[in-house]
Symmetry: none
Subunit: 218 residues, 2 copies
């Protein structure tokens, strides 16, 4: 079964645990832009990505967004299974950034397996530690890093993900990602253009001086 090849600690589970896990997972295909998980409204389970790209973000009462982290092939989204842990009071949204194939692991089954398997529980600890590190890093950025550095870092990250210096992305969506209004993004991008870091045209941002952009981001 293909799931076995994607599930990180599969080899360290007992035969009985593998059977339990395999029999409860479901396979799902989601379209780009589809919102898969809504805050604490549902508890759909853990999402293991076969192929695609998801983003986890927070949404304010008045509709503002900020991206917490992204999930790529073989990554697992834990917070879509918030009901799994009593102490997890995290209201995030999960949305597909590309067409995505994934497996859903029901929270209840995963929780039961964690209770009997130190291996699975320790693996979950590591995932959680990774996420808390991401979120605390992001908080540092938001609190103490100026917006030009954050925007420069974001453009470099996008270029790395897309393997291209020609980014097809709107100012609006950059703003949502970074938690800033579109106007602020547009203004800073025009400043970057004047500085020779990027070239702007309709619907695209081309990185024209990658080394300088990298120095700025540091």
């Amino acid at each position: 079964m293909e799931f076995a090849a994607y599930m990180p600690v599969w080899d360290k589970l007992t035969q009985a645990q593998r059977v339990t896990l395999a029999s409860c997972v479901s396979y799902r295909t989601v379209k780009k832009d589809e919102v898969i998980h809504h805050g604490d409204v549902d508890c759909m389970g853990l999402l293991l990505i076969r192929q695609g790209q998801l983003k986890a973000f927070m949404l304010s009462e008045d509709g503002r967004e900020i991206t917490l982290y992204r999930l790529f092939d073989r990554d697992i989204c834990l917070f879509s299974a918030g009901c799994m842990m009593r102490s997890l009071r995290v209201e995030i949204m999960v949305q597909a950034e590309k067409d995505t194939d994934l497996w859903v692991i029901p929270a209840e089954t995963y929780k039961q397996l964690m209770e009997e398997s130190a291996v699975l529980s320790n693996f979950t600890n590591e995932m959680m530690a990774g996420r808390i590190s991401d979120v605390m890093w992001l908080m540092e950025q938001v609190l103490w890093k100026s917006f030009d550095k954050r925007l420069a870092g974001y453009l470099l990250e996008e270029a790395a993900i897309e393997q291209s210096i020609m980014l097809r992305i709107t100012h609006e969506s950059i703003g949502k990602h970074l938690g800033n209004p579109r106007e602020v993004v547009t203004r800073m991008l025009h400043y970057f253009q004047k500085e020779g870091l990027v070239r702007l045209s309709r619907g695209t941002i081309e990185i024209t001086d990658e080394p300088k952009l990298r120095r700025l981001s540091q």
Copy 2:
């Protein structure tokens, strides 16, 4: 041994695990204001508080601080044992806010015990889930804060109306007044209590630092 009475999952550990744990912990007394843990410079271990008060905070390069959470009697500080998990890249500081007695559990021993004990590992997962929830909640406040100001203003208004700093009012009715769910009010009030702004007891909210509450509301 007193440690046994403070260690949360002690009853669920095996005799051998108890012996291992008990033989490695050390007892320490720290004075108010002492910085116990410095970012990722050290990996002193987990801190289990017998009596006292610690705060965990982030520090920017230019010396700005933000308190992430506070630790009281019987709480455990996990992030002072960052080396315990590969994925934990969290640079926090821990400082005593009162004279504090605590036990230090070496990270390496704790990690070994977690690897063999699903109970200890799941307990650690719950602690981590609680911390990540705290941090994400705080980030929401930092990004989009408005409710804390509104709640602070509301409490001051009530105190003026009642000519008393002892408010007899339910979280439910505050929620109705401000248009927020009761849970949100309760959570913010607990945050206020940790910050020393109010003292909560059954059916009452006592304002304990009126000037600070007023500054917050502005």
